[in-house]
């Protein structure tokens, strides 16, 4: 269907300024956080009510127009990459916090609300929303649901799927369905879990009810540096094997440490090969109890230095380096490519040394800064897009890293999603029968393949192409 005709139809029920047709106005939507992929959409539509979303979906369904949903566009796998002939459905204007029920520990919010805004809104009640992706200032809760986002605190408090109790979904046909229940248990198959992490391919999330937790009364970070990546990796496993579940457990390697230190001056040990940040929270007793044990483990693994945050300002300073690590790495290289494989924790040191060996082979530097407690790696491959062939080399290197993760018993993506980026790697993780089953689920809920077509799960045809090359 002619985009101009479609635009006219949308303008009948959506403010004309929120139906964007001109190329220069569509430019900001041409990519998400994975900016090596760019594409202008046919049309950008920005509804501000669920009812408008329904009408958009009805029209698109009737006229078989592809729809790509967009939250804040911080995704790192091209999930929100537009379709050239389709509608880019931006939910940024659905940004109301509908309800906070502090006694029940629940908040009902629209999908465009930013992750951090939820915790900020419930802070006055002494509550917080646990999953905290590093992009939390910007990313939307709808995008978090679509990617099953994790964060620094997911080791103890779980991922998005563990912290959401109910979703309102607009189906591809423009119907409304509620899944889950704010009484925690909902009878029947867990349709809500199916929706979470489905990358905008099974439905449009228009309302989310999240769990809120009491802010712990005490919180301390232990910052430890090591001479070798391996001993830091082993120390991570050892702490958890001891029966301690830290609130967060992050690791940085020497590139990341130096980049972060140059950028924000967090007081990191820049001569170290690895740095661990271990956050403990709970009652005062609990934190003291665990801090002693963690310190002992770090000593046993020959830490160069161990510092325990003495006050809130120092705790935040320790975190500041970690939280700004991505932009900090961005300063030491023209471009970087962020991978997201997950492995069993005990494989950390083995996989890290494999990556560092490959880094030499490919002649590309790698900075590692990641969720060590979850075994969720984020190797940042540094490259220069302006050098011919470097991007391709970086992508090949990345693919190799993911293969190593799968072989180590892990998976190709822990929290960033498959998007357009990891379609080929899906074949490393799944058999043809398994992929066919996933495609059957997609067909069941989106028979005309209108929602985010060509992403997430490779089609059978593409599988054959990939496997034969």
């Amino acid at each position: 269907m002619e985009t101009a005709v479609l635009a006219a139809m949308f303008r009948e029920f959506i403010d004309a300024r929120c139906v964007v047709f001109a190329d220069e106005s569509k430019r900001p939507f041409e990519c998400d956080g994975l900016s090596v992929y760019k594409q202008l959409p046919g049309l950008v539509v920005m509804p501000s009510t669920t009812e408008q979303v329904r009408k958009v979906m009805r029209l698109c369904c009737r006229h078989k127009v592809p729809v790509v949903v967009r939250g804040a566009g911080t995704g790192l796998s091209g999930g929100a990459l537009p379709h050239p002939d389709g509608v880019l459905l931006s939910l940024a204007r659905l940004s109301k916090i509908v309800e906070i029920d502090p006694d029940a520990g629940l908040a009902r919010v629209q999908p465009g609300v930013s992750n951090l805004a939820i915790s900020e809104a419930c802070a006055p009640y002494g509550l917080f929303y646990a999953p905290d992706p590093s992009s939390q200032i910007a990313c939307s809760i709808g995008g978090n649901v679509a990617e099953n986002a994790g964060g620094v605190h997911c080791l103890k408090y779980g991922l998005t799927v563990h912290n959401v109790v109910q979703l309102t979904i607009v189906t591809v046909e423009g119907e409304i369905i509620t899944v889950g229940c704010d009484g925690l248990a909902s009878a029947g198959p867990d349709l809500m879990a199916l929706m979470i992490g489905s990358e905008g391919m099974l439905g449009v999330v228009t309302e989310v009810t999240v769990k809120l937790l009491p802010q712990p009364s005490h919180c301390q970070v232990i910052l430890a540096s090591f001479d070798e990546l391996e001993s830091a990796g082993d120390a991570v496993s050892a702490v958890i094997a001891q029966g301690i579940i830290p609130a967060g457990f992050e690791m940085m390697d020497s590139y990341a440490i130096r980049a972060a230190e140059d950028y924000v001056g967090a007081g990191y040990d820049t001569d170290a090969a690895a740095l661990l940040l271990c956050e403990l929270d709970g009652t005062e007793e609990e934190v003291r109890h665990c801090a002693e044990q963690v310190t002992a483990v770090f000593q046993r693994y020959c830490a160069r230095s161990i510092r325990v945050s003495q006050n809130e300002a120092e705790r935040l300073l320790f975190w500041k380096g970690r939280k700004s690590a991505f932009p900090a790495v961005g300063r030491i290289s023209p471009d970087y490519y962020c991978m997201d494989g997950t492995i069993p924790r005990r494989m950390l040191s083995r996989v890290l040394s494999e990556i560092s060996r490959l880094s030499g082979e490919y002649g590309l530097r790698v900075a590692n800064v990641f969720h060590a407690g979850d075994g969720n790696l984020h190797p940042l491959i540094l490259f220069d897009e302006s050098q011919p062939g470097e991007l391709q080399k970086a992508e090949e290197f990345g693919a190799e890293i993911l293969r190593i993760c799968v072989n180590a018993g892990g998976c190709i993506t822990g929290e960033h999603g498959v998007g357009v980026e990891k379609l080929a790697q899906m074949l490393d993780q799944f058999s043809n029968e398994e992929l066919a089953q996933l495609n059957a689920i997609k067909d069941a809920l989106d028979p005309d393949a209108l929602l985010n077509p060509g992403k997430g799960v490779p089609t059978l045809k593409r599988c054959q192409e990939y496997r034969s090359t």
Binding site: D103, A104, G105, L106, E147, N148, G150, C154, L155, V161, I177, C181, G183, L184, A185, A187, G188, P189, D190, L191, A193, L194, I196, G197, S198, L202, P214, Q215, A238, I240, A241, G243, G282, T283, E285, E286, H289, T342, I343, P344, R346, D374, G375, N376, G409, G410, C411, T413, G414, E415, G417, V418, M426, E433, E434, Q437, A440, I441, D443, L445
Partner: protein, 351 residues
Amino acid sequence: MTAIADLLDQVRNAVAAQRPLCIKGGNSKQYLGREQQGEPVDVSGYSGVVDYQPSELVITVRAGTTLSDMQQVLAQENQVLAGEPPEFDGKATVGGTLACNLSGPSRPWHGSIRDQVLGVRIINGKAEHLRFGGQVMKNVAGYDVSRLQAGAMGTLGILTEVTLKVIPKPESTVSVRRTIGANDSLRVMNEICRRPLPVTGACWYAGDMYIRLSGPVSVIGAAAEQLEGRVLPDDDGFWSRLREMELPFFADAKDLRCISLRSTRDHFSEDADWLIDWRGARRWLAAGGNRDSLDKHVRDAGGELSQVRGAEHGADVFPQRSAVYRQMLLRLKQALDPDGVFNPGRLYSWL
């Protein structure tokens, strides 16, 4: 031991003959859902630990493994499956527990078994043995077929293997009991749960409210002092009897209903016989009241009512669903079990 090949054969034959199959684990959850029909497929013989890595806090077991056996293996490493699903005299299997998505009193804090699942293997309706999810804490490759199985009661495939994350066993627990009315207990439980205390149980039963705390001795001792009521160092197995549905409340209830509701919703039908768990988010009702008007009340409050015992023969026991919801479920059923051989009618008369 049952072999996968046997289970696959049975599914293949059933599909060829268009004959329904009735999936059985430990046979401990007949009380849930609707009557099972069809030729039995016995998964209980497909049991045993496939892999256990205590330092990873991850265990993989075959679906027929009993929960009690698995908990015993975990206990040797001082670990436990969180969420306390009922073991039903050692009969409950891991597969059955996931299929019914069960949990115990700690659900608001630890979730149900669905929250512990990392991956599964299933046999689908094409007699294919498939693997979804994995053995790591985070995995977003492909749709979440593992958790979709939670609550499906076998209608979307036969679970053959389950990978679960586990937690260190809490050092100790202590309970505090206080005499209080049901209505007030709701308010007090929610107020307590807003505080950063290591609460792992909040229940009201027969005129008393019970709060359980778990953690290191020093921690829970200090926390218990902040609560009003009598400290019960030994709670007489109250929580395990609650979990196993062995309190007299359950034994006596001929017409048993289970309501899932936001914890802050007002108490209602005050004259009826109630047991309130999950800090108010789960309310058990023994007998009393017209089901339709009760159902409407619960629905209007955003909750769900299920009939656990005393349903009319052949009636649906789980909450009614909208046309859109039914269509979605039917299409998913078609995607996973195209010939409709797995547990027809077990969950809903129309599925």
